[in-house]
C-alpha cells in the first residue's frame, strides 16, 4: 500500500502538534498545584486527562475524514480534536475556562464541542458511541456519504452502550467506525482484569462486522485499516470495529500516582515512540531533515499561539452560567 506523501506529512505534523500540545499542558496544568497537589488550584483547575503516546489512533483515521464526518471522543479527547481539525485557539481557551472557548468556557477539557468540524466529546464512558451511530443514521437518511467515527477506550467496550450501539449499527448498516484505543488500563485496572476477551476486535464477530487489530501503536497500519473501514462506511456497506494497541505515557489524570504500573513501563513504551518511528520512516523515504524541522516548527508555533490566546482571554461573566439551558430563555 502506498501512502500519499501529503498524508504522511499531515500525520507526522499532526502527531508532533498533539505531542507538543499535551506536553505544554503538563506544564500549564502543574502551575500553582504543588508542592502538595491541589487539583483545584492554578490556571487550569480540575481533572486533566492527556493523550501523549496515543497519537497514532487519532491521526491514522482522521486523515481519511472530511469536515462533514462526525467524531465523538471520550474524556481523553485532545488528540482526536486536534486530528479532526478543531480550532486550537478556541479549544485551548475552553480548557482554560475562558469566554472565547469552544463552549464559552463552560465545558472544560472533557467537553469540547465544535460544530465546524462535527467534533464532540464527554466524560461518560461509551456515551458517545450511540451519538455517533445517530449521526451515521442521519447521514444515511439524508442521502449523504458522511461517516461517523466513535473513539472509546478499551474499558468502555464493557459498557452496555457499546454492545447496543454495535448491534444497531450492524443491523442498520450504518456508516460508523468504532475505534478502541487500548492503552492497557481503565484508570488503574488492566485490560486482562476487566475484559473477557484478549482483543476487542474479536467482538466484531458477534455483530457480523469487520474487526481489525493494530498492534504496537503502528500509525501506518492504523492508516491502512482505517482507510478500509472508512471507505466501506462511505460506500454504505456498514460499520467496522478497530482496536489499536496504544501507549499512555502519562497517568490517567495529571496527579495520578500510578501505583498500578511498574516504573519501567513507560520508559519501555517511549523507546518505541510512534512519532520517532514515523520520522525514521520518512527519512528512509528520502524526506529531508530540514523539511521535517519546518513542519515541527509550524506545529509548535500553532501550539504557542493557542496557549497565548487562551491566557489572554477573559473569563465568562458569572451570569453566563444561567444561559443556554434552553434555546430561547434564561432560567
Amino acid at each position: 500500500m502506498s501512502i500519499p506523501f501529503e498524508h504522511l506529512q499531515w500525520m507526522y505534523e499532526t502527531m508532533v502538534k498533539i505531542r507538543t500540545y499535551e506536553e505544554r499542558l503538563v506544564e500549564a496544568y502543574a502551575e500553582g498545584k504543588y508542592p502538595v497537589f491541589n487539583i483545584g488550584a492554578g490556571p487550569v483547575p480540575g481533572e486533566m486527562h492527556l493523550a501523549a503516546g496515543q497519537e497514532p489512533a487519532a491521526v491514522g483515521i482522521c486523515v481519511h475524514l472530511k469536515p462533514e464526518d462526525t467524531v465523538t471522543a471520550p474524556h481523553r479527547p485532545h488528540h482526536h480534536a486536534i486530528a479532526k481539525g478543531v480550532d486550537l485557539r478556541r479549544m485551548t481557551a475552553e480548557i482554560y475556562g475562558k469566554a472565547t472557548g469552544l463552549g464559552k468556557g463552560k465545558g472544560g477539557h472533557m467537553h469540547l464541542f465544535d460544530p465546524a468540524t462535527k467534533f464532540s466529546c464527554g466524560g461518560i464512558i461509551a456515551a458517545g458511541m450511540p451519538h455517533a451511530a445517530g449521526a451515521a443514521l442521519a447521514s444515511k437518511m439524508r442521502g449523504k456519504d458522511w461517516v461517523a467515527v466513535a473513539f472509546i477506550g478499551e474499558g468502555a467496550a464493557n459498557q452496555g452502550a457499546f454492545h447496543e450501539t454495535l448491534n444497531l449499527a450492524a443491523l442498520w448498516k450504518l456508516p460508523l467506525v468504532v475505534v478502541i484505543e487500548d492503552n492497557r488500563y481503565g484508570i488503574s485496572v488492566p485490560k486482562a482484569l476487566s475484559t473477557a476477551v484478549e482483543r476487542n476486535d474479536a467482538r466484531a464477530a458477534a455483530y457480523g462486522i469487520p474487526g481489525y487489530y493494530v498492534a504496537d501503536n503502528d500509525v501506518l497500519e492504523m492508516y491502512r485499516v482505517s482507510r478500509e473501514a472508512v471507505e466501506r462506511a462511505r460506500r454504505g456497506e456498514g460499520p467496522s470495529l478497530i482496536e489499536i494497541e496504544t501507549y499512555r505515557y502519562l497517568g490517567h489524570f495529571q496527579g495520578d500516582p500510578e501505583v498500578y504500573r511498574a516504573k519501567e513501563e513507560v520508559p519501555g513504551l517511549r523507546e518505541k515512540d510512534p512519532i520517532r518511528r514515523l520520522r525514521e520512516h520518512l527519512l528512509a523515504q528520502g524526506v529531508a531533515e530540514q523539511d521535517m524541522a519546518a513542519w515541527e516548527a509550524r506545529a509548535k508555533a500553532a501550539v504557542d499561539e493557542a496557549f497565548a490566546f487562551a491566557r489572554d482571554s477573559e473569563y465568562p461573566a458569572p451570569e453566563a452560567a444561567l444561559e443556554d439551558v434552553f434555546a430561547a430563555s434564561e432560567v
Binding site: I39, G40, G105, G108, G155, V189, L193, Y315, A321, V331
Partner: protein, 327 residues
C-alpha cells in the same frame, strides 16, 4: 481508642471494620482495588482482604449495581462504589427499577441489603458529571434510603448502619469535605442510626436545615449572623434524606417559627420543596415568615470559573436569614 480522622479515613475504617466483622460483606467498583478508589476510600483494603472481598469491576455501572442486587438476594452484603455520583446514570435502571422495588415486588420475600457509596457534590473543580447533587432522584424513589454524612464521626457510624440495614441504601459522600477537616472518631464499630437528624447548633430565631458539605457553610453563616445581628439560628443536619426525621424538623420549627433550607442541588423539585411541604403540613400556624430555600441554580453545575457562584455561599445564606427574620 480515639483519634482525629478525615471523613475519608473514617469511611475507609468503617469499610475495613465491616469486612472484618461480617464475611458476607463484599466491596465492588471501578478502581477500588490496587488503586484504592479514585479518592482512596478503599486504600489498602485489597491487600488486607484479597480480591474475593474487594473486587475491581469493569466499567459497567449497570452491571455493578445489577450484580450487587443478585449477590444481595443470595446471602451477600455488597457495598458498591460508583466512582462519581453522575456515573450512576447508566445504572439507574437497576437501582430504581429493581433494587428499590425488590422487597415490595416480592411481597416481602426478598430484601436487597446493599449499599451504593458514591462521592457527590460540587466544590472540587470537577466539571459537570463530576459534581452533581441529585439526591432528590433517590429520595423520590420508594424503597431506597438516602444518607449523607457531614462529618467524619457521622460518616463512620452512618456507613456501618447502612451496611447493616436490610434494605438498599444510597450513601452520598460529599467530596468537598472528604479531607477538609479532622475530628475525633472512636475506633471499633459504632452506629449512628439512619433516619435521625442532629441538632448541631441550638437557637431560637430561625431553623436552618442542611446536609453534606452545606452543613458547614450554614453553620458559618449562623455564627456570622449572630455576631452581626444577634440572631440565634438553630442548625440541623438532616443526615438521612429518606426517611426524613420529621419529628426533629417539626419540633425545631415549632420552637423558632422560621425556617430556611440550604442545599447545593438545583432548586426546582429539590428536597427543600419536600421539607417546606412537610412544614406546611405540620407546623403552618407556627410560621412567622415563608420558608426559604437557598439552593443551586437550575443549570448544570458550571465550570470552575463560576462554580463558587453556583454553590450556596455564607453571604447568600445570611441574606436569606435576614429576609426571613425581617419579613
Amino acid at each position: 481508642m480515639s483519634r482525629e480522622l478525615t471523613m475519608l479515613q473514617a469511611i475507609q475504617e468503617a469499610l475495613d471494620l465491616k469486612l472484618a466483622d461480617d464475611e458476607r460483606v463484599v466491596l465492588l467498583g471501578e478502581d477500588i482495588g490496587v488503586n484504592g478508589g479514585v479518592f482512596r476510600a478503599t486504600d489498602g483494603l485489597l491487600a488486607k482482604y484479597g480480591e474475593k472481598r474487594v473486587i475491581d469491576t469493569p466499567l459497567a455501572e449497570s452491571g455493578i449495581i445489577g450484580t450487587a442486587i443478585g449477590m444481595a438476594l443470595n446471602g451477600m452484603v455488597p457495598v458498591a462504589e460508583i466512582q462519581f455520583l453522575a456515573f450512576i446514570f447508566p445504572g439507574l435502571e437497576q437501582l430504581l427499577s429493581h433494587a428499590a422495588r425488590m422487597r415490595h415486588r416480592t411481597r416481602g420475600q426478598f430484601g436487597v441489603p446493599m449499599v451504593i457509596r458514591t462521592p457527590y457534590g460540587a466544590g472540587i473543580r470537577g466539571p459537570e458529571l463530576h459534581s452533581e447533587s441529585v439526591e432528590a432522584f433517590f429520595a423520590h424513589t420508594p424503597g431506597l434510603k438516602v444518607v449523607v454524612p457531614s462529618s467524619p464521626y457521622d460518616a463512620k457510624g452512618l456507613l456501618i448502619s447502612a451496611i447493616e440495614d436490610p434494605d438498599p441504601v444510597v450513601f452520598l459522600e460529599p467530596t468537598r469535605i472528604y479531607r477538609a477537616f479532622r475530628e475525633e472518631v472512636p475506633g471499633g464499630l459504632y452506629r449512628v442510626p439512619l433516619g435521625q437528624a442532629k441538632v448541631v447548633r441550638e437557637g431560637e430565631d430561625l431553623s436552618i436545615f442542611a446536609w453534606g458539605s452545606m452543613l458547614r457553610t450554614a453553620l458559618r453563616a449562623a455564627e456570622q449572623i449572630e455576631q452581626e445581628r444577634g440572631w440565634r439560628c438553630e442548625v440541623i443536619d438532616l443526615r438521612t434524606l429518606y426517611p426524613l426525621d420529621r419529628e426533629t424538623i417539626i419540633t425545631s420549627v415549632q420552637k423558632t417559627g422560621r425556617a430556611l433550607v440550604v442545599h447545593e442541588a438545583h432548586k426546582t423539585a429539590g428536597l427543600g420543596a419536600e421539607i417546606i411541604s412537610l412544614i406546611n403540613d405540620e407546623a403552618l400556624l407556627y410560621l412567622r415568615a415563608p420558608v426559604k430555600r437557598i439552593a443551586g441554580f437550575d443549570v448544570p453545575v458550571p465550570m470552575f470559573s463560576v462554580e463558587d457562584d453556583y454553590l450556596p455561599t455564607e453571604a447568600r445564606i445570611r441574606q436569606g436569614i435576614e429576609e426571613t427574620i425581617l419579613f
